[in-house]
């Protein structure tokens, strides 16, 4: 922890009170960021964890330590089903979104030349529209009176509107996939765009076909960006409650919805906090696995 600056050394003032003052100054300079992290990140999480180990006493919280919230959670079949379903829904939709966004980013970066920035912008423009509106749009498309049904009927494929498109697990997956694509695109696009043109050329020069170049050079160098994109997509979809509430129906309910219920109608904050902790924990677990793929021993020049 030596913090001797050239100035100090020259002036011969390297005394310990001075060094202490230097550390204090450094701390003061950092303090806005530290306050921000403490108030907005640490504190809410501490409260969340505290609430989850306090007792619910008919809608009020009594500050007695208990693990009952967790034990009843893991005994509840409803919770276990929802946890499993939520995991499946968000893993599936994030995977599909990645499978769409990554090739999309690859095509934009490699084929669009100087128009790639415009193309990238067009893909992430939906982010400018309110989240609620974007999910609502799926209702308009998939609903009983919706665009899809109207099209199928006018093409004569079906003769009466189908209810099958809306309010199901599949609907939630479709909507969440759609929601996640721009974010994953952004992350993978950045990763691919960082790879200089001459790596493609060098690989081709070494006799590698376009597929060989992708597999041996481009994929390893962009994989961390894909992993980060996947993680963002997963976190985004795993905690979502708006989308399942709007297009999921009963079959598409996810953990986020019951957190809302516990904090809202059920007025059971400790239980809600417990579910919140489980969601955060599961998220961290997936992130830990994903982070294994973000390592890259390379420096791109």
């Amino acid at each position: 922890m030596s913090t001797i600056t050239g100035e100090q050394a020259a002036a011969g003032e390297v005394t310990s009170p001075n060094r202490l003052w230097q550390s204090i100054k450094k701390f003061l300079a950092l303090s806005p960021a530290l306050v921000w992290i403490f108030v907005l990140v640490l504190l809410p999480n501490i409260f969340l964890i505290l609430y989850s180990v306090w007792e619910n006493d008919l809608g009020t919280i009594s500050q007695n330590w208990t693990l009952d919230n967790y034990s009843s959670l893991f005994q509840s079949e409803v919770f276990k089903t929802l946890l499993k379903r939520t995991l499946i829904i968000s893993l599936v939709s994030t995977t599909i979104a990645t499978l769409i966004a990554y090739p999309l980013a690859y095509v934009v970066v490699t084929k669009f030349g100087r128009y790639k920035t415009i193309a990238a912008l067009l893909i992430i423009i939906p982010l400018w529209v309110s989240y609620l509106m974007r999910v609502f749009a799926w209702k308009i498309i998939l609903g009983e009176e919706g665009v899809l049904n109207g099209m199928l009927m006018s093409l004569g494929i079906t003769d009466k509107p189908s209810e099958a498109f809306l309010y199901s697990t599949t609907t939630v997956i479709v909507a969440l996939t759609y929601v996640a694509i721009p974010y994953i695109f952004l992350s993978t696009y950045t990763a691919l765009d960082r790879i200089p043109r001459h790596y493609y050329e060098a690989s081709s020069d070494c006799g590698a076909s376009p597929w060989g170049t992708f597999r041996n050079v481009i994929w390893p160098l962009s994989r961390p960006g894909v992993a980060v994109g996947f993680a963002i997509g997963f976190v985004l979809t795993f905690g979502d409650y708006v989308t399942p509430a709007m297009v999921g129906g009963l079959e598409g309910t996810m953990l986020g919805s019951i957190v809302l219920q516990e904090f809202g109608n059920a007025n059971n904050w400790p239980m809600g906090a417990g579910i919140g902790v489980v969601i955060a924990g599961a998220g961290l677990l997936v992130l830990a696995v994903v982070s294994l793929f973000t390592r890259l021993d390379a420096r791109i020049e």
Partner: protein
């Protein structure tokens, strides 16, 4: 099978390579490894062509340099030979076959990139093994060949390093090893020494020259450094504004530059714009000059190299002899560069006399045969 064919071709290349410059001079037509026919490249959205109507024939085993300043089209020419760019007009032939539309990975051509382009996530040995792996060479053969290739450029002990752990010169050697490992017919070098410091550059020049002698393959070497081009090449092309200004041996280009651009670009020279008077007499501004022969043009540019200008008593027997005032002196270590004024003309001469200073008077002259008419500037 393919291996064997390559092997024998390499051998013939080595034996054929005895006197490439002599062969080039006699114009004997050995097999052309590369041939560009009427190649023009215009990048989309740009008015001027990067490369304009270039014809080029490069023979087996030659060390061929393309010399030019930045933006002269030399790198674009190289990229079309490698296959990274397609010519807008014209054809590219490799080994006599039309390769204009052949993608880079199907061409028997290797490139050493200006920035080396080593794959950052692969260790040195994986980088060098990559071309073999991609062409489906059996795994057990790859190891020994990589080792041998790294030894050839004295990089064997760095096999397990990643590119960013190497210095510029070391990366350069790895890039060379990677480019040579498949034993290509043709090696393209795009300003390979550009990023190195002077001392390393000189060292690498010797490494390159030795490698080319050993492996006997055709080198096409793109550079903006005239010293490198003169030192290394059997044949060189000087490019300017997308066109080849002159294509000849280094000695010929130095002694008989075809244009004033070439004369000015290769080495230092005095360019005098002259008017023909009569017979072998001409005038540069107000200074009368004697030429070796009748120029047959009324206006032209004359190139006189500083080293062909003799100073002091040496010049007494020469027809072009002047007494001039020294206006500036540059100390270069082994000699001095003296800027002298005669009439309205300024000439650069070299002097070993260390006492010359501004304001002094010197006497100098040159043999008319040493002056070259590089360009007609009218009529």
């Amino acid at each position: 099978m393919a291996e064997e064919r390559e092997e024998t071709e390499l051998n013939t290349a080595t034996t054929e390579r005895q006197e490439p410059s002599a062969r080039a001079a006699t114009g004997e037509s050995a097999a052309a490894v590369v041939e560009l026919v009427g190649v023009t490249k215009t990048y989309p959205g740009e008015e001027e062509s990067a490369v304009a109507d270039v014809d080029l024939r490069i023979r087996e085993g030659e060390f061929f340099s393309i010399l030019g300043s930045s933006g002269s089209g030399k790198t674009t020419t190289l990229r079309m030979i490698a296959g990274f760019e397609q010519p807008t007009i014209g054809r590219v032939f490799l080994d006599g076959n039309d390769a204009t539309d052949v993608p880079p990975y199907r061409r028997d051509v290797s490139t050493v990139f200006q920035n080396y382009a080593l794959f950052p996530h692969m260790k040195v040995q994986a980088n060098v093994a990559y071309p073999l792996k991609m062409s489906g060479v059996p795994r057990r053969e790859i190891g020994p060949r990589v080792k041998e290739a790294l030894e050839r450029v004295s990089m064997a002990e760095y096999a397990k390093r990643l590119p960013h752990q190497l210095s510029g010169g070391q990366r350069q050697r790895v890039a060379l090893a990677r480019a040579l490992i498949r034993g290509p017919r043709l090696l393209l070098l795009d300003e390979p020494l550009g990023a190195l410091d002077l001392k390393l550059r000189e060292e690498m020049l010797f490494v390159l020259k030795r490698l080319q002698r050993e492996v006997g393959i055709t080198f096409i070497y793109v550079t903006h450094d005239q010293g490198e081009a003169l030192a290394m090449s059997d044949l060189m092309a000087v490019m300017n504004k997308g066109r080849i200004e002159q294509l000849a041996t280094p000695a010929e280009i130095y002694a008989k530059p075809a244009t004033s651009f070439v004369a000015g670009f290769i080495g230092k020279t005095n360019l005098l714009s002259c008017r023909h008077v009569e017979g072998n007499r001409a005038e540069a501004g107000s200074v009368p000059l004697i030429l070796a022969e009748d120029p047959k043009q009324s206006q032209f540019t004359l190139s006189v190299r500083p080293e062909s200008i003799l100073i002091g008593t040496d010049c007494h027997s020469l027809p072009n002899r002047f007494v001039a005032e020294v206006s500036e002196v540059l100390f270069l270590g082994h000699e001095r560069e003296v800027l002298a004024k005669i009439g309205d003309q300024r000439l650069m001469v070299r002097s070993q006399d260390l006492t010359v200073g501004p304001g002094d008077t010197i006497e100098f002259g040159w043999d008319p045969k040493e002056a070259v008419i590089v360009e007609a500037t009218g009529g």
